[in-house]
Amino acid sequence: MAEIDRWWNLHPDLLYQITEHLYFYDDYIRLRLVCKEWNSKLSSIPHHKRNPWLLLPGTTHDSSLNHILDKEQIYHVMFPDFDINDNLIYGSGYGWLITVVISNGAIRMLNPFTKSHLDLPPISTFPDVVRYHRDWWHVGEYVLVELSDGSIYTIDAISFHKYEIWKIVISSPPDNEDFMAVAIYGECGNLAVCKLNDKRWTDIPMEEISPLFQDVIFFQDKIYAVDFDTNLYEFDKKVIMDELGKKPRPQLVPLLTSIGGICEPPPPAKLATHYNCSMNKYVIGCVDGSLLMIVKHDDWAMKMLHICNKFDVFKLTKNSKEWSRIHSLEDYAVMIGYNSSVQMFPGKSPYCKANHIYYTDNQVVLHTPGEPSLQDMGILNLEDTKTNKILPNVEWVCPPTWLLP
């Protein structure tokens, strides 16, 4: 058997086996570049390697980073029109990043694996924006913003673009026709939603209360949000979706009861009032239908050093009336930060361990967006409550975030 060109025609199963033995993502890319046959038999995203990535926005020639992470795999992605000084990442999910462009307030979705991108409605279309203005009085553009009590304040556009968004979460990859994005925005941490191809963000109205939401997720056809006081809210995604599809542009106000509202189970944590905002809350939907709430304690006084040691984990089983405190995630891990808070099943993966909390910093209150700052990121082992800090001494202009393909 002396034919020469046989490797070229390698059976897909065997090719797949080769990729299973590859350690570096770079080598996977190499395989796809060798020849057309291999390229067509290997998907552009290695689906079997569903490991979490930590996205570090920086320049490829940042040798200081390579040195620190010499044991990890670093995959460099070039995004020609992504200026790390002009972009802030405010969400990630399903392999997509959601970024805000500081200079013009555009909101874009980028996929580092497939290099695709698409736009969501810009910040200027948020419900609290009255209008943008430019006059000789003020330097540069400024924005008139309406608060919930009706009063109006002005802020320069650049700062507005930096501070307006807290987090953006998407319900699915954008090729899904039920796609929806929800944003926590504004001074008061309200919720706004949009679908693909919408021109504006639509506010989800609250009744009399003015909650300051800290996290939001899509879970089982509902939208769950947790506010600073650890109250849980539930909204019906289908109803909202239907209304958004109607013309003319709906106001969701008349639908209040059917959309949803505050949840029955009382909040799990009695937290001291003046510490509320500095503690970040996260809500996660679990495989078995229950919800997890994670409260991350930050020491307000230690703002500069940013030591985070304490996490409280609460669980609300399906149809239950009460949260219960849990001390172990058992076979699962969770990832929190700017990414859509998720529960993961690491199995035998060497890159993700069970009963650990993987966190990055999304403490909007304690950072100045767009300025280099230290980030509180780490991996907490719930069993012994020891934390492995990630890059504690590096300053970031655009904070790192978890990315799951």
């Binding site: 058997m1 080769i18 033995h21 590859l22 570096f24 080598d27 190499r30 060798v34 057309k36 390229n39």
Partner: protein, 198 residues
């Protein structure tokens, strides 16, 4: 010659207490029992061999235990009785003689030397896989067909090293891929997107 092989094999495997039985007092004098007869008495049958037939119709005789230990396919054949010891041979039409001999070599060595230290085994494996890309391809096909797990892992490990960190043109050369099949535009696009791989 066969008897010799068995004797060597046995003396390597016999635990010391059994070897001690080889010395028995007979009529006041010490007489050494032949070790292989004792073992035959224990096992009850001669060492089984099986016949493997390459695509070139060449027949290779190999210890059944060796192949059963390594190849899932052969193990299954013998267990479900489709292999008749008296006259059958297992036809392996997709494996040529050269490759089959190498596969048998691998299995035999690993069975007989499984107690060796790790370094020695690895050195032997490295030497074993010192073949050109054609030979490697044939070994991969044979190991895959016969389902020899540890040989497959070894081959995949080698392939991984052939790819790791290499430039694309070098990988093409190593795997003898003369025509990559991309259109000139596609190839140019690839080079533009991943310049550091070329």
């Amino acid at each position: 010659m066969e008897l010799l092989c068995i004797r060597q094999w046995i003396s390597g495997l016999l635990p010391t207490w059994l070897s001690a039985w080889c010395i028995k007092p007979v009529g006041g004098a010490l007489v050494r029992q032949e070790p292989e007869y004792i073992l035959l008495a224990l096992m009850g049958s001669p060492l089984k061999k099986i016949m493997l037939c390459s695509s070139e119709k060449e027949i290779f005789s190999v210890e059944e235990q060796v192949m059963v230990q390594h190849s899932v396919i052969i193990n299954n054949m013998i267990e479900d009785g489709s292999y008749n010891h008296e006259e059958s041979k297992i036809p392996l039409d997709c494996v040529d003689s050269k490759t089959l001999k190498k596969v048998i070599d691998y299995c035999t060595h690993h069975t007989h030397h499984h107690n060796d230290n790790q370094e020695d085994l690895e050195a032997w494996d490295a030497q074993f896989l010192n073949v050109d890309s054609n030979g490697l391809y044939d070994l991969l096909m044979a190991a895959n067909y016969l389902e020899i797990r540890n040989l497959l892992d070894l081959i995949y490990g080698t392939i991984k090293n052939m790819i790791k960190g290499k430039k694309i043109d070098e990988i093409r050369r190593i795997f003898n891929i003369k025509d990559h099949g991309f259109t000139p535009e596609e190839e140019e696009q690839n080079r533009k997107e991943y310049p550091h791989f070329y």
